[in-house]
């Protein structure tokens, strides 16, 4: 291969050195990484949708095929109908109600506690924060039975209370998460506000909350997904058909010894993922806004 003339190469190097040139190369490298990983990451979703569009006897056909021969669109209404004995409309409504309540509850209770742990001085604080962390470390699987016994004593079984009340009393994971973000907010901002005579409630609402939008949006998304997909708690606490949640209704298609309507289950699962995706795409705006705000004042 012939080398390019010196002048041209120099021109090339010069181009690479310009801001525009460096940016173009950066974009190229970014895409070269983003796209292949993205293809792998999108696989689970594709498999889910592909299964949702197959007839049952093709779900496990050998060898497997990703694109169904004839897409079975009927699986979506059939799945939602649930043989007339699984009421997905009610389940979805219940899940939505619980999820929205829990997001708000977590945002309020965890923001307060996180601010206290991040920025207020008090005796006993370190000990209490150690307890916050410690409660995160106990395996939930071990607490299933005692917690069930407790909620039974409260008379809360077969209602949404065991699912909807605790979020208003903080969740260690979120308290810890927000505390870490709150600790990165510059001290000078607080000092300035204090000079203006602002109390802690005002500092929290007017400085911390706006500056922490990315973190709060993160919390909201986690709370949404966690509650929307929550399975074992609702399964155990709820018995009547009219209080069930979506993930519990979804597995009603599962049977013993291979008697599972995979196609219908995946059809409803696909529908169930849509709100999560919408929330996620919508919630991203707040990440972007977050930079803008902290950028100006930082």
């Amino acid at each position: 291969m012939k080398k390019a003339p010196l002048a041209k190469r120099k021109k090339g190097e010069a181009w690479r050195k310009t801001i525009k040139g460096r940016r173009a190369i950066a974009i190229l490298i970014t895409f070269a990484l983003l796209i292949p990983i993205g293809i792998i990451f999108v696989m689970p979703f594709i498999v889910m949708v592909s299964t949702a569009l197959k007839p049952l006897n093709q779900v496990f056909a050998f060898p497997p095929r990703l694109i169904p021969e004839t897409p079975q669109w009927q699986n979506f209404p059939d799945g939602w109908y649930g043989y007339g004995y699984v009421d997905f409309t009610t389940c979805t409504w219940n899940s939505l109600k619980i999820t929205v309540n829990n997001i708000i509850g977590n945002l309020v209770s965890c923001t307060l506690a996180a601010y206290a742990f991040a920025r207020l001085k008090a005796r006993g604080k370190n000990l209490l924060f150690a307890i916050v962390l410690a409660t995160m470390l106990l395996p939930n699987e071990a607490l299933v039975v005692p917690q069930y016994v407790l909620f039974n004593r409260f008379g809360w079984l077969d209602t949404h209370l065991p699912l909807m009340v605790p979020p208003w009393f903080g969740w260690p994971f979120f308290i810890f998460l927000l505390r870490q973000f709150f600790m990165t907010i510059p001290e000078e901002l607080i000092d300035a506000a204090k000079i203006d005579g602002a109390g802690h409630a005002r500092i929290l609402l007017q400085i911390f909350v706006p500056l922490s939008k990315p973190a709060l949006a993160t919390l909201a998304i986690f709370a949404f997904i966690g509650n929307w997909n929550s399975f074992f708690g609702p399964l155990l606490y709820l018995r009547s058909p009219d209080v069930q949640t979506l993930p519990v209704c979804l597995v009603q298609y599962q049977g013993a010894y291979g008697n599972t309507d995979w196609h219908l289950m995946m059809a409803v699962a696909t529908i169930a993922v849509i709100p999560v995706l919408l929330i996620f795409i919508f919630g991203q705006r707040y990440f972007v806004e977050g930079i803008a705000t902290s950028g100006v004042k930082g």
């Binding site: 006897n57 050998f62 649930g82 007339g84 004995y85 039975v145 069930y148 079984l157 009603q252 291979g258």
Partner: protein, 438 residues
């Protein structure tokens, strides 16, 4: 708007109900009538996938018509979670009146007081024909000689085969007088590595029922009769395990553990890649739904000396100690588990194989039953024995060990001798630990 949607849904429900032959009486109105009278509520904890619930609802509607003073309220768990939810219910004292009991759970649940001793209730009821159930099926729920639950479903494991693959190879279907050697020879012949097909599906299983199929023909047993010790360390079991191990790893006539995982849902026979596999009554509905080929069943092949053996297993229902109305619960179960009840629920739908001979006979005409389904009936009459472990309190631990070692044998990660040693040592240790508690 709202009203319209409701009526549209109600209409769809009715349309579906009538098309599937379900009685049109909705649950709603019935519930109201029941509430007006002085009724008792009978609660259930069970599993059925959504597809089978219309049948259950139809039965329950009929029951409530016959007994207007009883109202039925079902909590559905999934099959996978039922056994995890029940202990939590039991600990908190929130068990429903009637629960589904898998055969392997009867002994520990009876022992832990999750199901009550119904021996006297059953024997006092002269109309209820408990002797008309397979004795092998009732045995599952007899703890210390007393009945603690009753079976609804019970079935044996026999040989299943892919007709299309035998036809393509121009070979005769498995014959009634086949021995295990005949089966192995056919498996070798049907195997074609280039086509990615095997003669046998390699699903070696030593658990409930599987042990009878895979070691019984050699005269072996996984455990002694009263399940106080493992009995795999015998020449018979060794010979049997070597037979299957070699068929997979030496002859290559079955996919190894790794290869068979290539088949979605871990069932290469159902996927159509293997000509033969063991098949139980309870796996026929999913065969019917998922297999895209012609298939049938044959008797479990005999041992070299003409010994024929296989395992059987099943599930049932029990009444809980939390129930303050075991008599009402029995009113339900005596009808549900009667011949008529079984025929309505399982024989006609084919969703289960009734624990009564007449019920299983009717089941043979159901859609999931294969053409030669009578071999299931024959096995129940002639040679199927309920498969251990189920009588020991350590049954779950022993099942675990047997399953683990069978898996390692299929993968080729252990040898027959090492597997036998591990099963013997660990199994006996688990059994000894509970010996005093029984």
């Amino acid at each position: 708007m709202n009203k319209q949607q409701l009526s549209r849904r109600a209409f769809l429900k009715l349309a579906a109900a009538s098309s599937s032959g379900v009685a049109l009486a909705g649950i709603g109105p019935l519930r109201n009538i029941a509430a007006a009278q002085d009724t008792v509520e009978l609660t259930f904890g069970r599993h059925w996938e959504a597809a089978f619930r219309p049948r259950q609802a139809e039965y329950d509607e009929g029951f409530m018509e016959r007994h207007p003073d009883i109202k039925i309220n079902i909590t559905y768990n999934t099959w996978a979670d039922h056994n995890n939810v029940v202990p939590a219910w039991a600990a908190a004292g929130t068990l429903p009146d009637i629960i589904y009991v898998h055969g392997s759970r009867a002994t520990p649940w009876a022992h832990e007081g999750i199901i009550i001793d119904i021996h006297d209730i059953v024997s006092a009821d002269e109309e209820f024909n408990v002797d008309g159930m397979w004795e092998e099926s009732v045995r599952l729920y007899r703890v210390n000689g007393r009945i603690h639950a009753l079976p609804y479903d019970h079935g044996p494991i026999i040989l299943g085969y892919n007709k299309d693959m035998f036809d393509a190879a121009g070979m005769d279907y498995p014959a009634e007088d086949w021995t295990m050697e005949d089966m192995a020879a056919a498996a070798v012949e049907l195997t074609d590595p280039d086509m990615g097909v095997w003669g046998w599906d390699g699903q070696l299983d030593l658990g409930n029922g599987g042990g009878g199929f895979f070691v019984g023909a050699w005269g072996g047993q996984t455990m002694n009769d009263d399940e106080t010790a493992m009995s795999v360390d015998t020449p018979e079991v060794r010979e049997a395990l070597n037979h299957w191990y070699n068929l997979i790893h030496e002859a290559g006539a079955a996919p190894s553990g790794t290869e068979s995982e290539a088949f979605p849902n871990q069932n290469p026979f159902r996927s159509g890649a293997c000509a033969m596999g063991h098949i139980a009554t309870w796996s026929t509905p999913s065969m019917r739904a998922l297999a895209n080929f012609e298939w049938d069943v044959a008797p479990t092949p005999m041992g070299a000396d003409g010994t024929r053996s296989t395992g059987a297993f099943g599930s049932g229902y029990g009444i809980t100690p939390t129930s303050d109305k075991p008599d009402v619960a029995w009113t339900y179960l005596r009808e549900y588990l009667s011949l008529d009840g079984m025929i309505f629920m399982w024989s006609l739908s084919g969703r289960g194989s009734p624990a009564r001979p007449e019920g299983l006979e009717v089941w043979l005409n159901s859609d999931p039953a294969p053409p030669s389904g009578r071999y299931f009936l024959e096995a129940m009459f002639d040679y199927a024995v309920t498969g251990p472990p189920f009588q020991s309190l350590a049954a779950a631990q022993v099942s675990n060990i047997l399953g683990r070692e069978a898996g390692l044998l299929r993968l080729g990660e252990t040898s027959v001798d090492a597997a036998i040693a591990a099963i013997t040592e660990e199994g006996n240790a688990a059994l000894d630990e509970v010996a005093d508690d029984m």
